[in-house]
Amino acid sequence: MANVDKEMLAQFLLRMGDNSLILGHRVSEWCGHAPVLEEDIALANTALDLIGQTQLWLGYAAEVIGDKTADDLAFLRDVWDFRNILLVELPNGDFGQTLMRQFLYDAYQSILLPRLAKSSDPRVAEIAEKASKEAAYHVERSADTVVGLGDGTEESHARMQTALNKLWPYVGEIFASDAVDAAMAASGIAPDPASLRAEYDALVGNVMAEATLTIPEGDFAHLGGRTGATHTEHLGHLLTQMQWLQRAYPGASW
């Protein structure tokens, strides 16, 4: 482990793991409901990759925190202890909104993870190396789908523009750096998120242009997820489903 405050490192790892856990759970809600079989399988596989990455991030977080497991962190924390960005806890909406959110997240991961693969912390680096391969084909698919639906029929175009208008104010939180990020940047564990913004805007800008979609003006950002200060009301409802079994039957396994 690099020379860094353990509390800060734990917060960083929870942010990584909670993002993939909560988005993985949201995406898994599509299982059996997607418009066509191929999309159903694709969403289930994406969710599976995200949950796999969660096990690695939260597994390391649990070691740093001590006396915990990845399962403890996933199933036995309450809303205020989660550190995911608000974007990933929002309800799925329609298929277009789900894929728009996936692209906005995949674009972020596809830029962040290759940087984390060079982290000064070897554990962070090896997890990121693995996850970045998965993020690379996730973003390829979600970008293709955003372009296909955005530059599609009048109906699909309208729905994708509505999804982008709704989700864009949640993008700013990704880059809202704070003391945890400063500590990670200072120790070479992770880049300052704000430093990724230009590359992100370029990637998203290109895809939206191809998709004939317009990025809303204004830089207002809903904040409070990655600090845990103000989650949306949706996260609690998600946890009631995701955590129900371990809450009702503590320690149950199969």
């Binding site: 191929e38 399988i41 070897p122 391969k133 084909y137």
Partner: protein, 153 residues
């Protein structure tokens, strides 16, 4: 019983099939990264294909079952994430076996070079995801048959 040589252990592992695609072995897949003794303990180092692949735990169980069946008592399975698994580590015989089974083997170009059914080069992607995390769905536009393509990562 004298302890088996690492070459013998590799031979045993050559015979353990992949649980999802039993036509190839775990060593064909390239996920067994090392076999070595640390003191009296046999350490087998395994790297996951995809981080969320549900077969990973079955693979570990199959390795353990096979080696214990050969009389290995002191055994440790070690997970290694880095360097991350790549389809470049798949053996040539593994690629041949996949193709004969009807799954197009991974290609650096990012897509299958031909239909594993009829051999036509006229193929198109249906979905980047397939029945397992490691496969994508493609279709041959000559014989019209869909087929699995083992993704190149």
């Amino acid at each position: 019983m004298p302890r088996p040589s690492t070459d013998t252990v590799w031979d045993w592992l050559h015979a353990v099939p992949d649980p999802e695609i039993p036509v190839i072995s775990l060593t064909d897949l390239g996920i067994i990264r090392d076999v070595a003794y640390e003191g009296e303990t046999l350490v087998v180092t395994v790297t996951p294909t995809y981080s969320g692949c549900p077969a990973t735990s079955i693979i570990n169980l199959d390795i353990e079952t096979a080696l214990r069946g050969h009389g290995v008592e002191n055994l440790e399975l070690r997970r290694q994430l880095s360097p991350a698994w790549t389809t470049d580590w798949m053996t040539q015989s593994g690629r041949d076996k996949l193709e004969a089974y009807g799954i197009a083997p991974p290609q650096p170009a990012g897509g299958p070079d031909k239909c594993p059914q009829c051999g036509s080069q006229h193929v198109e992607k249906m979905s980047q995801f397939g029945s397992t995390p490691c496969k994508a769905q493609w279709r041959c536009t000559a014989c019209l048959e869909p087929f699995d393509y083992f993704k190149c990562i």
